[in-house]
């Protein structure tokens, strides 16, 4: 059984190399990757996640406008009834910021995990496997209980 993740670069950002590498790595790790490419809108992410029943939405942003581009993103996902795990990664702030602040900002925006641009694809894959495991176990438990 494969698991589907939706991947894309948000806003008007066109940095494609990172998601090209991520696509390859997640595919190699056994995921079904729906790669929306660069310059993907919030709505496109939501539609694709819905259409493919994705278990995770992986947002990439490199160009420094991530915070603006992600305002209200989780509302858009919720409206489309998307209940996937959400990760964001890349160069998330303009300039030479402290990453811990950046992480807090994006967690407040609703992301489950925030990655900096030193992240190896393997780390993200490991995290996702853990997170999905937990989710599965929890939902199984719920199923058993109910």
């Amino acid at each position: 059984m494969t698991r589907t993740v939706v991947l894309g670069v948000i806003g008007s950002d066109a940095h494609v190399v990172g998601i090209t590498i991520l696509e390859q790595a997640f595919s190699a790790a056994g995921f079904d990757v729906v790669n929306l490419g660069v310059q993907t809108s919030q709505e496109e992410f939501a539609e694709a996640a819905k259409a493919h029943d994705a278990e995770a939405v992986l947002v990439s942003s490199l160009y420094g406008h991530a915070e603006q581009d992600c305002q209200g993103f989780h509302d858009v996902l919720a409206e489309a009834d998307v209940d996937a795990i959400t990760y964001i990664g890349g160069n998330l702030a303009v300039g030479q910021d402290d990453f811990e602040e950046t992480r807090a900002t994006f967690e407040d925006l609703g992301f489950d995990r925030v990655f900096d641009s030193e992240t190896d694809p393997e780390e993200a894959i490991a995290a996702l496997e853990r997170d999905l495991q937990i989710t599965t176990t929890e939902s199984e438990r719920v199923t058993v209980n109910s």
Partner: protein
């Protein structure tokens, strides 16, 4: 059907009027008054003259912040402390998307909070007067650098605002920078930009135009970059541009980089009309940087060393903070001075490396193949041919995010670290050239004891940020033999 033909004057005026109504500041543009303004500028602010008369590579950083006074301070700093010869004004991403409303919001927020809420200088919003304040404040020529597919209003305002150099082109600011813009559309829009530059040129104000050579910045084979630069130069020349700076981004192999810069100059002069003054610009490594300023300084210096040998007319420097985000002004100036030091120490030395001529010849042959196929695709018309060649995949750019390019061609380094083509897809190329690439890459595969694969490409993408040139597998020592 779009063709490589000069836009007639009345058409130029019509479009000009139209696009200037896109945003309030467009109304302030008055062509004749602008000519007088340019004529009033001292010679040291005339971009083309300064660049074309230089006797050694001029250095230019990248830099743009939202507020005018901050931008002035930043450029003064880079000119003074960074000893930059030429200055940039990098435009923010909203402006690049023609979202002047969002740029305005960002600018106002920046003015209120003092924070850099935009990743560049929104020149359209600052308008003609704002631009002129900047031009007047800085004692050096300034170029507009952006990444805008439809840069017509930006050009109208910045030209009238006193800028005399403008980066970009219909391919180089489309394919690497956007997903959905069609090439026919961007060619049309850039024909206007070039025609406007040509109109200034006819009146004696030679606006310098600079195709963006590095494209996606990631292992772009030299001939692809050169062919696209030449096409953009030709399109610009047709519209009356007479000062063209062809660009190229460092791949990191010194022989290949020097060969490419020489080929760029030679082919540029060969393909562009005689009345165009062709200069060259070398971009220090445009791909992923190491997450460490000390190591980044090594990358920057290899670029400086290459520039000292190849002697392009201009070098665009990187900062040691490239990996992290927009650099502080201090780091930006440091990148300039590191580059300056190594260039100045090496440039008077006679450094002739073996094999440059051979590599240059290969690059030239490859570029001729690509130029031939473009013209063939367009029945002799370079504009149309470019569109068709990208459609068929005969012309392609690796890692292109754009729907207008196949993005199917894949590069990898050979055993010497030169960028070769691993997956040709539909790229047009003579078979014997393909054979050369194949042989070089299989030599590497053999050294590493593994198959050529996307994994090798991915390793090469990460290699420089991981501290090496070639993405060897982590186990074996690769091509380095056992010394005694």
């Amino acid at each position: 059907m779009i063709r490589d033909e000069r836009i007639p004057s009345d058409e130029l005026r019509r479009i000009d009027d139209e696009i200037r109504s896109d945003w309030a500041t467009g109304a302030a543009v008055d062509f004749d008054e602008a000519i007088r303004y340019h004529e009033s500028l001292p010679v040291e602010k005339r971009f083309a003259e300064v660049l074309e008369s230089a006797d050694k590579p001029l250095l230019q950083p990248r830099a743009g912040v939202p507020r005018l006074d901050d931008q002035i301070e930043l450029l003064e700093y880079l000119h003074g402390e960074g000893e930059a010869d030429l200055l940039p004004t990098t435009i923010d991403s909203y402006t690049r998307d023609n979202e002047y409303g969002k740029a305005q919001e960002g600018l106002e927020k920046a003015r209120e909070t003092g924070e850099d809420t935009l990743n560049g200088f929104p020149a359209v919003n600052h308008g003609v007067d704002g631009c002129r304040n900047l031009i007047e404040a800085i004692d050096a020529p300034i170029e507009v650098r952006h990444g805008t597919p439809d840069a017509r209003l930006l050009a109208a305002i910045t030209f009238a605002g006193g800028f005399q150099s403008f980066e970009g082109g219909p391919i180089s600011y489309n394919i690497p920078y956007t997903k959905e813009h069609g090439l026919a559309e961007t060619i049309e829009h850039w024909q206007f930009v070039d025609r406007l530059a040509g109109a200034y040129t006819e009146r004696g104000v030679r606006i310098n135009r600079e195709p963006f050579g590095p494209l996606t910045g990631t292992l772009v084979p030299p001939s692809i970059a050169i062919a696209i630069g030449i096409v953009e130069g030709q399109l610009a020349a047709t519209q009356g541009v007479r000062s063209v700076t062809l660009g190229y981004g460092q791949v990191g192999n010194v022989v290949q980089d020097v060969a490419a810069l020489r080929a760029l100059k030679k082919l540029g002069n060969e393909y562009l009309p005689d009345d165009v003054c062709v200069t060259t610009v070398f971009h220090e490594w445009m791909g992923g940087f190491p997450p460490d300023e000390a190591r980044a300084n090594g990358v920057i210096s290899l670029g400086g060393m290459t520039a000292a040998i190849a002697q392009p007319d201009k070098v665009i420097t990187k900062s040691p903070q490239e990996f992290q985000g927009v650099p502080t002004k201090e780091a930006n100036a440091a990148g300039l001075r590191t580059t300056r030091q190594i260039i100045d120490m090496a440039i008077e030395q006679n450094i002739d490396i073996d094999g440059i001529d051979e590599e240059q010849e290969l690059i030239e042959r490859e570029t001729h193949c690509l130029m031939d196929t473009i013209l063939k695709h367009g029945d002799g018309d370079v504009a149309w041919g470019t569109i068709k060649a990208f459609e068929s995949g005969a012309l392609d750019v690796p890692f292109a995010p754009s729907d207008s390019a196949a993005g199917a061609v894949l590069p990898a380094r050979d055993d010497d670290g030169r960028v070769r083509i691993f997956e040709w897809a539909d790229l047009e190329m003579d078979d014997d050239i393909k054979e050369i690439h194949r042989a070089r890459l299989s030599q590497r595969a053999e050294t590493e004891g593994r198959q050529e694969s996307f994994r090798m490409v991915a390793d090469d993408v990460d290699a420089i940020s991981d501290g090496k040139l070639i993405g060897r597998p982590h186990s074996g020592t690769g091509g380095v033999g056992n010394a005694d």
